[in-house]
Symmetry: C2
Subunit: 411 residues, 2 copies
């Protein structure tokens, strides 16, 4: 394969109007879905595409930050870059001036996510492999070289990463089985916050027909009775065997979360997601203890590996919903997945990318890291805008075969 050099970093501010009610939750009351897109132009016909999700307003800030941070990548030869991506990531994340705007959070870290994701997309396209396959073909040492493990020295050393990856090599034969069957998606789009009871009922019945057995309902109403009524009603419609996830999108205070969770427990939710502020690790820890045996999921708004580490150390969550369009992209996603393995926690990504990139990453997690939870959020609203939209059949994510990370948007 001839060398490919990154020539220029450009951006696209891509915003998509949703239909009324789509994407609305207790906190995000008038979303667009928008991508700050990092585009890596090269001296070949290939372009790397990387996404960071925003809700519309402010997307241009992330695009500007992509330009600022991306300068590091101009002129880099791709294979050389990816052979030491962990140190390049570190250099961008530790930019001596832009770091002040985080560190490792907010607009600049979203920009880093888009840039990182674009590097991985370009790499997979250059090797003519779907991203999951590229990642699975790497040696443990090559995977390690992708990662920035700084600030994890108390729990995850390079030697730990190598031994975790090497220890899984003998299980690779299970790969075939996984890949042939696809893996279940769960449908977030049935139960947006403002949907009427009748709409939710119709959505769930039609999702059941399409093979889904797991659904999400948005809660966090000012009126707890509404949340409770809708949750129990969804259980009735979906049946005892379905998984139901309840998502408060950070709307509750800790005392309120404790109170309402005690009532929601009886409809047996699979998890309760983002009960309160994502920075409030100790509130989550207290809630986990007070509301046992209810299980809690966080990650949609956790910005980096350090915060995830704290959640894991504190026993403050049961499901790790890391999102590669929020943390610093594919490589920090892998780092956090390794952390989760270390702490024995399942990774079930939040899909700011609508599952496009994460459909690759959960395969890597299962096969290379031994994560058991092969289960992925599904949100169909942006399907028409992707060149290769994720394919779901009978409720199962089909394994993508096109080269790259499935991130390209139609122009």
């Amino acid at each position: 394969m001839p060398p490919i050099t990154i020539r220029r970093i450009t951006t696209r501010d891509a915003r998509f109007q949703l239909k009324p009610g789509e994407g609305v939750d207790a906190v995000h009351t008038r979303p667009q879905y928008a991508y700050a897109v990092a585009l890596l132009e090269t001296d070949s016909p290939l372009t790397g595409t990387g996404l960071a999700l925003t809700l519309g307003e402010g997307n241009e800030l992330v695009c500007s930050a992509i330009q600022m941070l991306g300068e590091t990548l101009a002129g880099c030869e791709l294979e050389e870059l990816m052979s030491r991506f962990g140190s390049v990531f570190h250099q961008m994340a530790e930019h001596p001036c832009l770091r002040w705007l985080g560190p490792h959070k907010g607009v600049v870290h979203l920009a880093l996510a888009a840039l990182t994701n674009a590097c991985f997309d370009l790499w997979a396209k250059a090797r003519r492999l779907p991203l999951w396959k590229l990642l699975l073909e790497l040696s443990p040492a090559q995977v390690l070289a992708l990662l920035d493990l700084s600030y994890l020295e108390d729990v995850l050393l390079p030697a730990d990463v190598l031994s975790m990856l090497e220890g899984r090599l003998k299980f690779r034969p299970t790969l075939e089985k996984v890949l042939s069957g696809g893996y279940p998606g769960y449908d977030t789009s049935v139960g947006w916050f403002n949907y009427s009871d009748a709409t939710i009922e119709n959505n769930v019945l039609s999702a059941l027909e399409n093979g889904f057995h797991a659904f999400k309902l948005k809660v966090g109403s000012p009126d707890s009775a509404r949340d409770i009524r809708r949750a129990f009603r969804l259980r009735e419609i979906a049946g005892e065997d379905s998984f139901i996830m309840l998502d408060a999108n950070q709307q509750w205070s800790l005392p309120r979360a404790v109170e309402i969770c005690s009532q929601l427990a009886r409809m047996n939710p699979f998890w309760i997601e983002e009960p309160t502020h994502p920075d409030d690790i100790l509130a989550h820890q207290a809630l986990v203890q007070k509301a046992a045996p209810l299980r809690f999921a966080v990650g949609e708004h956790l910005p980096n590996r350090v915060v995830f580490k704290n959640y894991m150390q504190a026993g403050a969550a049961h499901f790790i919903q890391v999102d590669c369009t929020r943390v610093g992209g594919v490589s920090e996603f892998i780092t956090i997945s390794l952390l989760a393995r270390r702490f024995g926690l399942p990774v079930v990504p939040h899909v700011g990318d609508m599952g496009q990139v994460h459909q690759h990453l959960v395969l890597f997690n299962q096969v290379a890291l031994g994560h058991q939870a092969l289960f992925l959020e599904y949100i169909p609203h942006l399907q028409p805008y992707f060149v290769f939209p994720a394919r779901i059949k009978d409720g199962l994510y089909q394994v993508p075969q096109e080269p790259g990370s499935s991130s390209d948007l139609k122009s």
Copy 2:
């Protein structure tokens, strides 16, 4: 006083070149000091000025975010606005789209800091009072109405705030004593990271002559021996009676912090600042326990009241260095100061504003909240650029008398 209405929000991207070595630490290796300035133009001759600090590159992102978030303020009458500022702050902080870029951290929260600070500056100018005096003239209920206490319900309720403020009213007579004498500054500018031993020695001797008895040294060298040698040398120069603060600016991993702190303990630092990543609450907690009785300071990079609450609950810091140019401005500064009182911890602000606004806020903290640590960082590098630069005499901050928050920059 006639009503004043905010007509227009504008911004200034103000960047100041430092002299070689100034402002350099282990992590921020080529700083400018820059302010994203929020300017509130009114239907009167008065303009409100609010600052958020950055290190130069990326400052324009904060300016853009100020414009986006600031729309809420256009058309507001000032006294009406400040009579319910807590709810206006909440509305801006919970912006349903821009919130995604945080929440409550990074570029958008820095923008909120600048806007909040501009509101308080304008308010004090309109009342022709220095900010400290305006704040001290407010009733407990009026102070409460300035605050957004959401996500603190587990530790600080409105009734708690009122009783804390009311309980202090009888101590107000101590005010006169405080105000006449000034209060000590500590000199951060003696020991920047790349200063030679000789420069530091000269700086400390000259600061001692100017009445300072407290100094900061930047540590975090790749070579621990350098840090240790310089710290012990500074103790020799400054004498046993001086306070010496060591600042690692997040450079250490937890294991490295434990190791080096055990050696630094013997030169008796007053505190060790930002030993590791500011998101790593549990690493700070572990360090506090392992390095006892050493004391640790954090806050320069903690973005909001929720993170501060977690640090306090975890017993992960001894000194709270909240900075009103990092958290959401004056009102969140006060909220965090109230939290600190609740947990019995001293507030010694980091001065992203070079002490201009904080010289007012520490007076409020002492008189209205009973914070005992009347002690404030001093950095002189931007003195020539402020209209009313903070005045230090014999190492003591002199109490500002000009109306406003002392934030105006020369044009």
